[in-house]
Amino acid sequence: MSERSSLDEFGGGPSLLGPPHAPRGQEEGTRAALIAAASTVIFIAVALWAILSSPHWPAVQNQFFNWDHFVIVFPKVLGGLWLDIKMFLFAEVVILALALAIAMIRSLRGPAFFPLRALAVIFIDLIRGIPVILLILLLGFGVPALQLPGVPNGALFWGLTAIIISYSAYTAEVYRAGIESVHESQRMSARSLGLTQGQTLRYVLVPQAIRNVIPALLNGFVSLQKDVALVLILGIREAVREADIYAASTFNYTGYVAAALLFIAVSVPVARFTDWYTERDRQKKQSVSA
């Protein structure tokens, strides 16, 4: 009641609230949307005011948001981004396959498979313990220096290999969580039909596991899209490196902002797709249980 009387005071009168028995949910929904819109506008206004009123803003604007520089640097960064895209697409395919193999090895049971399991655990523990940037430096500078015959010596090859190895260790754990989330009775009934452990994993557990972890895998993919840029420390001219080079010669950082915008533009569709997929999956599960 107090809500209604307070609105009355603004002169709206009861007609604003519609008929007395209008569905309350809709009324509240409209109100919530208005509050959300108003608070967003206020928040952005305050944030902009705080930034723009700073005495150093003109200098920052010139360094980071300079349109003249933007026009020059954007094509260079965009050219570099193409390499990033090729890198993360290739890496993702290899990571998904390699990580699945590691996770399956780690999920084998029985004493006979102990050595394999142990290797998988050691690999995952070691790799997850090393910062990815360190792994890139070690492989990217270290292996080519060995000059091994028959082994590629390119910085790009080893930089990307480092990223693939690092991500495979994490992704293997995502898969493993998925495999373990499949109920034990599925394993039991598969084994009772005479399927071997490998067949049980391949035909029964992994297909169900992958469905469960697709959102987590997509999340990892978004992360990878940006982490491939780390190979720039090996001097590889991808998007951020191009911005870097431009900044070094002009002392203007607009290229970094351009690179950021481009990476965002690439990752937002995947993030939206992930949400869409998760929501669709949730609704499917609900319709089944109903």
Partner: protein
Amino acid sequence: MTTPKLELRGVWKAFDDKEVLRDVDLDVNLHEVVCLIGSSGSGKSTMLKCVNLLVPIDDGMILLDDADITAPGVNPNRVREEMGIVFQAFNLFPHMNVLDNITLSPRKVHGVGRSEAEDKAKDLLDRFGLSDKSVEYPDRLSGGEQQRVAVIRALATEPDLMLFDEVTSALDPELVAEVLDVIRGLKDVGMTMVIATHEMGFARDVADQVCFLDQGRIHEHGPPKQIFSTPQEARTQQFLQRIIDAGRL
């Protein structure tokens, strides 16, 4: 005398400190139907899982066609090809349709070609009145239908011993009969079966031999008439009295 199809000799099993099977002996002859009765936790389920080698036994031995299947070095996959098991919770593979559920083991384990395996699966589906469900996914089926598919899946590998682990316990009451009818049909064609069940009326009808289990021991076994009409052991009498009081017999 012919050797039994299945023999349990002095089988012991404990989970951590809890003994679930204590010195269990059982003979199941060819074409014989044995029902295991007893309250939940009496060891019925574990006994079936031990026979299927899903649970390793601690002591004793289990013989199938006079061969020790619990000896070291026995390949459990070969043993499991000889027998089928159906569980309380159906355990169909949710990501496969009915036909793929049924043909997975024949195709991957027994090396049967897809078209041959599917033809056989369709024959079985026909026989059990499920021919219109072959491309459905399990979540589109009723509990009774799912359990019948689970039975067919176990039969598809042509076992000559079937194990049933409280297969009607998870079903709505009106769906119990359709699954029990399937088992009766198997008795008519001479399938050797071991059935853990809470359906006493069914056990009385279908069993050649009834075993009453309590706390991991077979306290009494014999023909259903003897167990249900003139039980000798006090525990059996108590158990049956509770069932009768509950209106279940």
